[in-house]
Symmetry: C2
């Protein structure tokens, strides 16, 4: 009798617990409605296993047939799940594809995801009539303030489709203020320089601009007459060599564009907040999202800013609002802890890579690396080494005239020193690509350096 | 005794039902993990009530403080929930902001949403080494095939940040093939033309290009010597007047760019698939996403295509991969039913708007509208009226010299005929904006036309 009573009691209590559980669950669990398809697709794609040597994207080619997206493998990996390493595959150390930050964002999956609705900001303009998200501008100013790499007070912020577009806009705006009587403004940069400056100026063939090459050469030439209008691009830290650079030219006829794409704690000590007339930054080297084509500029002069804005308007009517939403989400993740997480992650990654690289090349007399003295970093609050994006390698043997070719024969594709206005004896190797690319690069470098030892012994 | 047994049995069965329910639910219900925060935020923003006169976006300015985003109201509406209509507020009928399609996308919330992961396509390149999504290219070709508005066989597809960027790229590419001996290529378009052609050419001030104005004037001028290189932009349907346009010039020295931004069933009968050397399209007028800054071109000649690609590369290194993902999602929604849903929705909307507009202006002798003869539409399989994006209004009274000013005084902001290379007696009124803007426009037009009647009586 008592047993039965107990059984009834237990059973009824269990029923009550279940009922409460279900009621509570329905009232507190959020049930996605119109977002769930997109969310499921994204989670499905993310769950595709690519052996750590690739990833599947929601917009991979397979998805059009309604299938699960397939793996897109890292260089030299293949197979359905990217598990097969191709032998004898040349390593890509060419472009500055900033995949070294990809693992960070995979770990920040939840905080960095953005859901774009089908009716997201369909208008040409934001509520304030501009092409730029006010929220994003606010976060960018905050970013500079927490990193301490640039003064944003009394600066206009302007967005572009990558710093690429802003560079063209800046050069164009500065060339417009040139009085036509003195001929086109001359665009200069000290060697070695990022090739884009030259390529843009030459391809866009503006009446008001001419690329003139090395700023030092100009300074010492007869044509440096203090009246010809001159625009100098100062890349600091420099691409390709990672050094902090200063303007070579000055005077009333000189205007300067500071390309600060690499002025982040990953790559360089933050020695002082940049406080220039016109500074450019790139999301590619800030968060690693090269594919998002987003950059921004800080501009002091109103007329220059207005002319840059007009350039951006006439070339693309601003930056995609979808992209601005995504970038806002990403930069919010960066700033919410003062950049601690991402800058430590990125800097540690590059520090390790430089240690590995230095170790390998320390065995070599044939190849040398750029040397930069450590400096105090206001961000990390300590003296630290530079950990540049690129190794700027010199082939020291007189017989190794074309350094790019030496590496290419060793199945390492770098970028020829000549591309940077420098000499054939230099080659640039990218160190910010995926871990697979870097590991592969180190393997190939080891072989090359080992071969050097063998050669030396055989002489 | 039996009662108790029954009670036990019922209770235990209920327990079993609950258990099965919970187990089943857990095994079949999808539980979002890392996507849920983004999804919740998007649904939260979408659920903000803005009285049908505005909408809240996830990246609205309020969100930085962690608050729910606030309403962004349509023109002339204000208040926390956009419920207050401002009196005496001028109506904006200026830009071609294609908000008439916003209600369509709100209804397609589920199918059109896209979730962008934090590590989405961080690389500069897609798997195939290009800047363009292969899946998106496939969908674009399919779109033209279902609509029948363009031949894509033997054409290269190129993406740009809006057709704006592609236009600059196309003009530049065609000017490059110009032999330098004959001076810069002349850019022409028949009046009335979209002002962007002129503005770009004049602002970008290429050595190889000069904007020359009206194509008819050039044809009849002495300078039309059949050797000077000429680039004619043919906008069809035309902006501002909506007419199907043909090239004015021909000859071995003439190159043509066809701007087909408006060649969609919303605006015009699809009379024949476009089959030109170089055609441009804009997402803005295809799906209504002006803010996404996406356009594409269909290019026959490989050299021209390569030069356009180089232009896009040097100006922005392609289009944001985030944007390409979103656009893929949108165009997939369009093509999956052959465009039925969106083109019917959009065309019906514009048809109603034109009926309303015609009715109002039929009472007027002071203002006249463009007239276009109906044509057979291969898409809707019937003879149909043109329902252009813009009313191209002529002020017929000799005293009304400046038509734009007449409307501005009546609190209707249109776009001055002079902007299109035409006369002051014309003004363009945009009909593709939000329903609120259109309703407001009609109210103001009624007043203006009513006033005309009063004036007539008072004479």
């Amino acid at each position: 009798m008592e047993k039965k009573l107990l059984l009834i009691t237990v059973s009824i209590i269990t029923n009550l617990v279940f009922t409460i559980h279900i009621l509570y669950r329905n009232s507190t669990t959020w049930n996605p409605t119109w977002t769930s398809r997109a969310a499921i697709e994204a989670e499905d794609a993310a769950s595709v296993s690519c052996s750590g040597h690739g990833r599947a994207y929601v917009d991979g080619i397979g998805v059009l047939g309604g299938k699960q997206p397939s793996c897109e493998c890292n260089n030299c990996y293949t197979g359905k799940d990217c598990s097969i390493l191709l032998s004898d595959c040349p390593v890509n150390a060419n472009s500055g594809d900033p995949l070294f930050l990809e693992p960070f964002w995979m770990r920040q999956a939840e905080s960095s995801a953005a859901l774009v609705s089908g009716w997201h900001r369909m208008s040409y303009i934001y509520q304030d009539g501009t092409y730029m998200s006010e929220a994003l501008e606010t976060v960018i100013r905050k970013l500079h303030s927490v990193v301490g790499n640039a003064v944003t007070d009394n600066r206009f912020v302007i967005f572009g489709s990558g710093s690429t577009q802003l560079l063209a806009a800046a050069v164009h705006a500065l060339s417009l203020t040139n009085s036509s009587s003195s001929g086109p403004a001359r665009l200069l940069a000290s060697v070695p320089y990022y090739a884009m400056y030259k390529e843009q100026a030459e391809f866009f063939d503006s009446v008001h601009l001419k690329f003139e090459g090395d700023a030092f050469a100009w300074k010492n030439s007869e044509r440096n007459d203090n009246t010809t209008q001159v625009i100098e691009v100062v890349t600091s830290p420099n691409n390709p060599d990672g050094k902090l650079k200063r303007a070579v030219l000055d005077g009333p006829n000189v205007k300067t564009i500071h390309d600060y794409a690499y002025y982040w704690p990953y790559f360089s000590p933050i020695t002082v907040p940049a406080d220039e007339d016109l500074s450019l930054f790139s999301l590619s080297k800030t968060t690693g999202h090269a594919g998002s084509r987003f950059g921004w500029g800080l501009v002091k002069d109103k007329t220059v800013y207005e002319n840059m804005k007009r350039y951006i308007t006439l070339s693309s009517m601003g930056v995609s609002r979808t992209t601005q939403l995504h970038v806002l989400q990403l930069l919010n993740v960066v700033v919410r802890d003062g950049g601690d997480n991402i800058f430590h992650f990125g800097h540690e990654t590059l520090k390790k890579r430089w240690e590995t690289l230095n170790k390998v090349l320390s065995l070599s007399t044939r190849f040398s690396l750029q040397k930069i003295k450590p400096e105090y970093c206001n961000y990390f609050k300590k003296v630290r080494d530079f950990t540049p994006s690129y190794a700027w390698v010199k082939c020291e043997r007189p017989g190794d005239a074309n350094c790019y070719e030496i590496f290419r024969e060793a199945k390492i594709t770098g970028r020829d020193g000549k591309v940077f206005g420098s000499e054939e004896s230099f080659v640039r190797l990218s160190l910010i690509r995926s871990q697979d690319d870097f590991d592969h690069l180190i393997d190939m470098l080891k072989k090359l350096v080992l071969h050097e030892g063998v050669e030396a012994h055989s002489i």
